[in-house]
């Protein structure tokens, strides 16, 4: 294992995004053939998996033909030429039904398109489908979708994780080499881990959120899913950067990660986060995967040590006060007036109450109630204010850790994919699936999940690489070395 291998062990293949774009740009393969192939696979496999809420077959074929015409005319459609991309269904595309997995928005057609979607299309990418999700991205299993759960491609009796479970399952099943999700407390990284794909939560503000249906605005971030680290880097480089339509977008811009992929880890200082590795109920094989990752990184020349980030133990509690509080405010807009469902009432208040009771599912109601309670008179300081102070402690503890280490490492999730229904009736048990991923969102930092081995049942395990704000280039160097050194059978397309 050398520290300076220039790209992934396999290199661009026929089915990854880099390989497809190269072949389409060179005129060796048509975008139309790529799209037709994926649509056929979706027709075959999605009835079982339910990864998708809407397949945009006609639009995708037309877009592919347009790409092929441009190549034939000697133009270069861009770095994603002909590459099919699946979108989590909380990303708006003008005129295309967008539900966020909720009955309250069933059939809604947005009057505008998300910036990330515009950037993908400008780069030659093809929007193929809208993916299933937990309602309004609230959940860790995609079982909270009003339209039914997504099944894990590695074992359809198990969950795909969540809330971006449809996006993760789509990449794992080979429906598209790339997908977008959103991550508020782990909603990209946890399903990536459970489905055996790469999932990236970029630095807060690195990717525009214009056109993302808001859940918790101080935490939400859009990011890529891919089957390989290099493909995830390609998509991140396309979508990242300043956008004047998002006032929380980082004005200074973001450094591309692709040029750094082959730089290896020689001399990097990497810290294993003790509190996120020794969590209650962690599966022994997950812990062993982290140990295996340490061996790979050490062999690559990294200096790996254990580090304590003490206040992260309060991350889960703080998150489940802050995120519901922000959600209760964000979801006030679903009032039966401007879009979506309306259930009539005698006056506006009754109409609002009936509409929201009929349109929201149980988890969304639970979080709105929890958030409204945490913000209500008499409890504001004890819960919401206190959680915001914990957030400060977590940021300070991470700052101290990043003075000693270039990146940090932990499991992505405490366990591999659990059975559908196993945690559906116990909200707190479900919340615990996000215990390793939440601190990154509270701090506004970057983190990603990389497939690293499987458990005794053949289910994928993910290792999480965490980086300081705008630390993506170093994070991706580490991820590339982990991918190159991962045990045989890690990641890849589910059979």
């Amino acid at each position: 294992m050398t520290a300076s291998s220039p790209s992934s062990a396999t290199g661009p293949g026929v089915d990854d995004a880099i390989g497809i774009a190269r072949a389409v740009r060179a005129g060796e393969r048509t975008a139309r053939a790529v799209v037709d192939e994926r649509l056929e696979l979706i027709a075959e496999r999605d009835p079982e998996l339910h990864a998708l809420l809407l397949v945009m077959g006609d639009e995708a074929r037309a877009a592919a033909d347009a790409i092929d015409a441009r190549v034939a005319a000697g133009e270069d459609p861009g770095p994603l030429a002909g590459v099919p991309v699946v979108l989590k269904d909380n990303l708006c595309v003008r005129g295309v039904p967008t539900s966020a997995g909720s009955k309250i928005l069933d059939g809604w057609r947005p009057p505008y398109t998300a910036t990330v979607v515009d950037r993908i299309v400008d780069a030659g990418g093809i929007v193929l489908a809208k993916a299933n999700l937990d309602e309004f991205a609230m959940g860790s299993s995609t079982e909270n979708s009003a339209f039914g759960p997504t099944h894990n491609p590695h074992d359809p009796t198990r969950v795909a994780g969540g809330s971006s479970g449809g996006s993760a399952a789509s990449v794992a099943a080979g429906f598209a080499p790339l997908a977008l999700g959103s991550d508020t407390g782990g909603s990209i990284r946890q399903p990536a881990s459970l489905c055996g794909v790469v999932g990236v939560k970029p630095t807060y503000g690195a990717v525009s959120r214009y056109g993302l249906i808001a859940f918790a605005s101080s935490l939400d971030q859009i990011g890529p899913f891919a089957a390989t680290v290099a493909d995830a880097a390609l998509l991140l480089d396309v979508i990242a950067g300043h956008d004047s339509l998002d006032s929380t977008s980082i004005a200074s811009g973001v450094e591309p990660v692709t040029p750094h992929l082959g730089e290896g880890v020689d001399g990097l200082r990497i810290g294993i986060v003790q509190e996120l590795t020794e969590v209650d109920g962690i599966q022994a094989e997950v812990r062993a995967a982290v140990a295996g990752a340490v061996e790979v990184l050490t062999a690559g020349g990294a200096i790996v040590e254990t580090v304590s980030v003490p206040s992260t133990v309060y991350g889960l509690s703080a998150y489940y006060l802050i995120a519901p509080a922000e959600a209760s405010s964000n979801l006030a807009r679903y009032d039966g007036v401007r879009y979506g469902l309306r259930v009539d009432g005698e006056d506006v208040a009754e109409m609002n109450g009936r509409t929201r009771a009929a349109g929201f599912g149980p988890e969304v109601k639970r979080r709105i109630m929890l958030g409204t309670y945490a913000l209500s008179a008499g409890y504001y300081d004890a819960y919401y204010g206190q959680a915001q102070r914990v957030r400060t402690l977590i940021i300070e503890d991470f700052r101290a850790a990043y003075e000693r280490f270039d990146v940090l490492l932990s499991p992505t999730a405490p366990t591999t994919a659990f059975a559908i229904g196993a945690k559906a009736s116990d909200p707190l048990a479900m919340y615990l699936s996000d215990i390793c991923t939440i601190p990154t969102n509270l701090a506004g930092h970057a983190a990603m999940s990389v497939p690293f081995g499987v458990d005794a049942g053949g289910l994928p395990i993910g290792v999480q690489v965490l980086a300081d704000a705008l630390g993506e280039p170093t994070m991706f160097r580490v991820a590339q070395v982990l991918e190159d050194g991962a045990p045989a059978g890690s990641g890849g397309i589910a059979p």
């Binding site: 057609r109 004047s244 489940y320 009539d344 209500s376 707190l428």
Partner: protein
């Protein structure tokens, strides 16, 4: 099962949140919210005197744009998504008591 939250508390919060919950939902939420808040007690119990709260991870101040006329969403397209419209506006049930 936690008894931290009473049924009356849940009804009050549901009214604030504009959610017309049925009896079963009120009953179940009283228990569930109690369990989640019990878990949050580790945070509520910390002595954080002197620690500044963080509302947002970026040190952002207000972002202003130039005061220029720019294209906006198409009114007909926006209204087409509304449950009820009249004369180019959103139509709602009465807000004030009848005269």
């Amino acid at each position: 099962m936690s008894d931290r939250i009473s049924r009356a508390d849940v009804e009050h919060v549901a009214a604030l949140a504009r959610l017309s919950l049925d009896d079963d939902e009120l009953e179940r939420l009283a228990g569930e919210l109690g369990v989640i808040l019990d878990h949050a007690e580790d945070v509520a119990a910390l002595d954080l005197t002197g620690v500044e709260p963080t509302a947002h991870p970026l040190p952002l101040v207000n972002v202003l744009r130039a005061d220029e006329v720019r294209p906006t969403l198409d009114r007909d397209e926006v209204l087409a998504a509304a449950p009820a419209v009249e004369d180019g506006r959103f139509r709602v049930p009465r807000i004030l008591d009848a005269p």
